[in-house]
Amino acid sequence: MDLMLLAPELTLVVTGLAVLLIGLFIPVGSKKILGFLATLGILAALALTVTSLGTEATMFDETLSIDALSQFFKIVFLVVLLLVSIASIKYTEGSDNTEEFFSLAIFATIGMMFVASANDLMVLFVAFELASLATYALAGFEKNNPRSIEASMKYFMIGSLSAALLLFGISFIYGMTGTTSIPAIAANAGGLVTNPIGIVALVLMLAGFGFKIALVPFHMWAPDTYQGSPSVVSALLAAGSKKMGIVAAFKVFIIALIALQAEWQMVFAILAVVTMTYGNVVALSQTSVKRMLAYSSLAQAGYISMAFVVLTPMALGGGILYALSHGFMKAGAFIATGAVVYMVLSQNKNTENPDHLDNFRGLGRRMPITALSMTIFVFALAGIPLTAGYMSKFILFSSTIQSGLVWLAVIAILNSALSLYYYARVVKYMYFLPTDAERVSEPLPYTIALAVAVIGVLAIGFWPEPFVHWAMEAAKVLIPGGI
């Protein structure tokens, strides 16, 4: 057992604690340094994760497993956290509670990373709760803003409901198999197949994960919370925490409950179609950009769920690559929105809906870098070629057709064509609608975060080879022999 494999997590813990402690002793004016400190720690953790790429190991009596899949998702979470942390340097500026913000974000990400490497339902559940509990307070970070509090309340309530459902489901799994270890469950799954309780446990756990992934009908908190929370937190939730649900579902369904494959493929087929259609149709008429992004995020969750239905190595690779691309695209889009909100609020502190589409009017002139990045992100979300979104969609959709599920691919392609309408509307507002407002200077941290995300989106779009290869390696962990 090599403790170095836990070095990224340990680095993050140390960073979180350091930020918390140092924050106690320095005045508000110099709290900006905490953001830099956190960013440095995250970069170190990212570097440590990258250096340990390619190793495979199980640790602590097989409760943790380090493999290509967990490494891939750890990097996704760290990248999202990095983007969020850079942007938050500006967001938390002047706040008395900088240390709480950064340490909570870091702790939440530690939870996500442990979910990615969990090999035991107990680890998975506790880490899942860590990621949830830390973000409940983050969603309500603006505690004088009723929207933020409402977002936090809804997130918390539905979150604890689904934690209860998840735990109840796990208890049935434990009851039937007598173990919580993921490989051992797969070995003892006979009882789950022959008894009706298998389906009950399956659906209960799906409700728990579906809450994080935001699958219809477990999605209802998501639009409210993404809209009400601070934009950087929405980025963390939509880009990071959603992926945690996906990797947990990958592990639990594809590895542990592979014996119930027919059943959960059916569930995911239904939910994928309903979720992507619902997300896209409802997004059409939204005027709040963050809410629109939330519904688009539903749609994207629907696309990723197709990987469960197709279940070929290529489809899973596509789904995993989509998770990475979506991390960049969605985090970037929310951070760009955050920059706009910041600009609007710094001009008028009492703006009712700072993320309203009207505030994006003429953004191409007012904040050219933000507008250009936002354009790239929404086009990537829509799946325009040479962006990350296109590559992931291409692999995912063509693997769907290849395995004979033409109807599903047709629905998905129609959906993604439909989605262009509301994405293009944002671009229209930014570039084609006139404004008489002056150009404003763009806050540097936001700009850096946007630039990093743009590079990520375009890198996957222009040079997908290594990323696809990497995602396929990760997919091999799920189905070693291929199906």
């Binding site: 107990m122 559940f125 506790v126 709760e129 509990l133 409940y136 307070a137 309500g140 505690k143 009723p146 929207r147 509090i149 409402e150 977002a151 936090s152 309340m153 809804k154 918390f156 309530m157 604890s160 409901l161 934690a163 209860a164 459902l165 735990l167 109840f168 796990i170 208890s171 049935f172 434990y174 009851g175 007598g178 173990t179 919580t180 639009p223 409210d224 809209q227 009400g228």
Partner: protein
């Protein structure tokens, strides 16, 4: 020996009561109490299975989940306090600025 179905059935009933309370109560505190009911029914399940399988894992899990429930309650009450300060009520059904 008592059949295990009775323990599980009891847990299911308690869980449903919790669900019912969560779906119908307006007060935030009552909703939190309902969540505790659900979590504890899951714990009951875990412990029952643990002894009927002669395996301690379930009891360890139950311990952990009790700790988690405490954390959740702490955060929940803090959020409710903020709401109460802002609105002078903790009836959550009237708190819907964000919708549609």
């Amino acid at each position: 020996m008592i059949p295990i179905e009775l323990y599980v059935g009891l847990a299911v009933i308690i869980f449903t009561i919790g669900l019912y309370g969560f779906m119908t109560q307006r007060s935030g505190i009552r909703m939190l109490m309902s969540v505790e009911l659900m979590l504890n029914s899951a714990n009951l399940n875990l412990v029952a299975f643990s002894s009927y399988n002669a395996d301690l894992t379930g009891q360890v899990f139950a311990l952990y989940s009790i700790a988690l429930a405490a954390c959740e309650a702490a955060i929940g009450f803090a959020i409710l306090m903020t709401i109460f300060r802002m609105r002078d009520t903790i009836n959550l059904d009237s708190f819907n600025i964000l919708r549609w």
